[in-house]
């Protein structure tokens, strides 16, 4: 058994810590104060490109499959960046959430066409994944966006909501159904490129927290995309792999969201200690007890998250552990933020303390990538055979 962090990852964490302290947190606070996502032309994004952010893990034409590196290292970095600001982390340019699906099942032509521009981006570029709809959130099999074949094109009609970065994305991977009455088996994913007729308008939501990145609703009205934009090609969907592609993205995401939540809980912890020290409160039992419970549960959530990642690194099944990490870390994050505001007292109600921001940010962690209740259903299916 070993709980140590290797030197290479430690060095990457050191770099992330410096970047987070100097750039990420100030930008996140700025976005929160101004109440809007970081604008596309913000210098932050240029700095991201200058330091090599926003690139794809795809190696280029003819390259071997991308391994993605150690999941553990990915999780630790996800924790560290979210410690400084999760909203900014999500806003950072890059191929984002759909990259794994494209790497996993995209055709070589699709990788070149859609990931190619992210090999060495000349400007900040984004991509995003659109699954959630106004009437289909946790129940992803119930999406109603319709895909209809019309010659050598597909025609998409529907509406999507809470999609991160959709209005600025070069392309959106849109999950749609060829027959909404047939559930998962009828689902397909399509590349929808920026500017295509019928895409939009985009409505950027006003959110309680995590304001640095945009959460966007949009509609698709007779959006025509070439048949070549069907992720993986038609043959793959004839093998009924469509929904699996989407869920593959989610499975990879749960421990990362958990790691984000751990990072945010840790930020609350540190800010609480700082506040208590500055206000000479560390001598009080009630203060130390709150710090203790925050730290204890944050440490626990981190270990649960790393366990899920370790299993993934071992190529072992992690369905239960991934969902556990997500369910626990999200709760821990919210509880830490709640305790943190109690330490602030009335100061927590002013709306200008980082802990207050984190309290608003934290709630999303129990919602995105499957709510805590959905995670429990997934776990219960494995533990006690809970029927679907």
């Amino acid at each position: 058994m070993d709980f140590a962090i290797d030197d290479a990852t430690r060095k990457r964490l050191d770099v992330a810590r410096e970047w987070g302290r100097k750039v990420v947190r100030p930008v996140g606070i700025e976005a929160d104060v101004e109440g809007r996502p970081i604008p596309v032309g913000h210098p932050f994004f240029e700095r991201c490109i200058e330091r090599g952010e926003g690139r794809t893990r795809w190696g280029g034409p003819g390259s071997p499959p991308a391994t993605g590196g150690s999941v553990i290292a990915t999780l630790l970095l996800a924790e560290e960046l979210a410690y400084w600001d999760r909203g900014v982390m999500i806003a950072t340019p890059g191929p984002g959430l759909p990259e794994q699906s494209v790497l996993g099942i995209g055709t070589e032509e699709q990788k070149e066409r859609f990931l190619g521009p992210f090999l060495d981006p000349d400007r900040p570029r984004w991509a995003c994944f659109a699954m959630t709809e106004p009437s289909a959130g946790s129940d992803a099999a119930a999406i109603r966006t319709l895909a209809r074949k019309d010659g050598d094109h597909w025609v998409l009609n529907g509406a999507k909501c809470f999609i991160g970065g959709a209005s600025r994305a070069d392309w959106i991977l849109v999950q749609a159904s060829v027959d909404p009455t047939k559930g998962r088996a009828a689902q397909r994913a399509f590349f929808v490129e920026r500017g295509v007729e019928g895409l939009g308008p985009f409505k950027i939501e006003k959110k309680m927290g995590l304001k640095a990145y945009e959460s966007t609703s949009f509609s698709l009205q007779d959006v025509r995309v070439p048949a070549a934009n069907l992720l993986g090609g038609e043959e793959r969907y004839e093998r009924k792999a469509g929904f699996k592609a989407a869920m593959q993205t989610f499975n990879a995401g749960r421990p990362i969201i958990a790691a984000n939540a751990v990072g945010m809980a840790r930020a609350v912890l540190d800010e609480s200690i700082r506040f208590a020290r500055e206000h000479d409160l560390l001598g009080q039992d009630r203060v130390r007890d709150r710090v203790e419970v925050m730290a204890r549960k944050t440490r626990m959530a981190r270990l649960m998250c790393l366990r899920a990642g370790w299993l993934a690194d071992q190529h072992r099944a992690n369905i239960v552990e991934a969902s556990m990490s997500k369910a626990v870390a999200a709760q821990v994050c919210q509880e830490a933020a709640t305790l943190g505001t109690e330490l602030l007292g009335l100061g927590g109600g002013r709306g200008d303390h980082l802990i207050e921001k984190l309290y608003r940010d934290a709630k999303a962690m129990d919602i995105v990538e499957g709510t805590g209740q959905i995670q429990r259903m997934i776990i219960a299916r494995q533990l006690v055979g809970l029927p679907r």
Binding site: A4, E79, I273, D289, E292, M300, R302, I379, G385
Partner: protein, 367 residues
């Protein structure tokens, strides 16, 4: 980098403990509880496979294993009968103050005094909330005091850890049997001593801190075993028992409860293992061990009663083991200082650092 596999050596230690528990403890739980001690052949088997000196230094005739080995063994034994697990270990919690503050030679002396099968050294952490109901009175080389409950019917050495001081008494200890809430195979007594001569007295703040940490992981890992047994039994029952035309586990209210119990157990176990790893690496472990202990107690507060709840009326009667799990989890949670002392120590340690869980600094080699 992170590796949660125990490896061959620790895996073998855990397997050995599991086999002992299955072969010897399981079939005789009720007999051991009635007799307030395991049978002689169980003691013999325990000693023969080397568990009696698991953490005792090799120079003192032990196996010289570390905290990880201890927590793996304790969970396996406690999952079958935690009372027997306590009774079988001749040195128990007493070892930690003695070896950490008195050194290996003192540990060897403690072992010699408990060499007889069934002998017990008992350790007590004297906290601010006074596990000793009349406090402790120390006059020169003699001590007086009492302890309202010890899970033992025999005490060959009583080791009291109070702050930076450790008192070792091996004569003049009077025991009065009490019924005990649980842990019945270990026995249960009130201990008192008046003008008892001190065998040793050590004062060492750093050693005392390490002893508190190791003791907390000892108790925490016993709790893991009890919680595991409660989770496993109640989950299996919930998949068999039918209500409203389906297994009760398939009603979402219970499915979620079972899920939460398992998550609490898994999380607590990871904390215990990480803290034990820290101790074996000689890293700073006070806060980690105290937090692991506190989280085990926190988890046990819900797992114990909820396991009974899942069985309903059947859970409340002694025909099923979950009422025993509930009683024993609560009893264990009172040993070695209890919840409040642990969170107090962890809270003080954590508040000394501006960023106590910083990545790469907290989990790395910096002690």
């Amino acid at each position: 980098m992170l590796d949660l596999d125990p490896g061959d050596e620790l895996g073998l230690v855990a397997d050995t403990a599991r086999k002992l528990a299955d072969d010897h403890l399981g079939p005789a739980v009720r007999i051991a509880e009635a007799a307030r001690q395991p049978a002689a052949d169980v003691f013999a088997a325990y000693t023969e496979i080397g568990l009696a000196g698991l953490e005792l230094p090799e120079s003192a005739g032990g196996a010289g294993q570390g905290a990880l080995a201890r927590v793996l063994v304790n969970e396996e034994l406690a999952a079958v009968d935690v009372g027997s697990a306590l009774a079988l270990d001749p040195l128990g919690l007493a070892l930690y103050p003695v070896v950490e503050m008195g050194g290996e030679s003192a540990a060897a002396e403690l072992a010699v005094g408990c060499a007889e099968l069934g002998a017990r050294a008992v350790g007590v952490l004297v906290g601010a909330d006074a596990q000793m109901d009349e406090g402790m009175d120390l006059q020169g080389d003699v001590a007086s005091g009492s302890v309202p409950w010890l899970p033992a019917d025999r005490v060959d050495s009583l080791v009291l850890l109070a702050g930076e001081s450790m008192l070792w008494i091996d004569r003049g200890i009077d025991l009065a049997p009490v019924r005990g809430m649980g842990l019945r195979a270990a026995g249960a007594s009130e201990a008192s001593f008046r003008d008892a001569p001190l065998r040793e007295r050590f004062v060492d703040a750093a050693g005392a801190a390490r002893a508190r940490a190791r003791g907390r992981l000892y108790v925490a890992s016993l709790l893991l075993g009890v919680m595991r047994a409660a989770c496993d039994f109640s989950r299996d029952y919930a998949q068999e028992r039918q209500a409203f035309g389906r297994p009760i586990a398939h009603h979402q209210a219970l499915a979620f409860l079972i899920t939460d119990m398992q998550m609490a157990l898994d999380g607590a176990r990871l904390l215990v293992h990480e803290a034990a790893w820290r101790i074996d690496r000689r890293l700073e472990a006070s806060a980690a061990a105290a937090s692991a202990y506190a989280q085990c107690i926190d988890a046990a507060r819900s797992i114990g009663p909820n396991a009974v709840q899942i069985l309903g009326g059947h859970g409340f009667v002694a025909d099923y083991p979950v009422e025993k799990h509930m009683r024993e989890a609560r009893s264990l949670s009172l040993l070695w200082g209890g919840f409040d002392a642990a969170i107090d120590e962890a809270g003080r340690a954590l508040c000394r650092h501006p960023s106590p869980l910083a990545l790469g600094l907290e989990t790395g080699e910096r002690a």
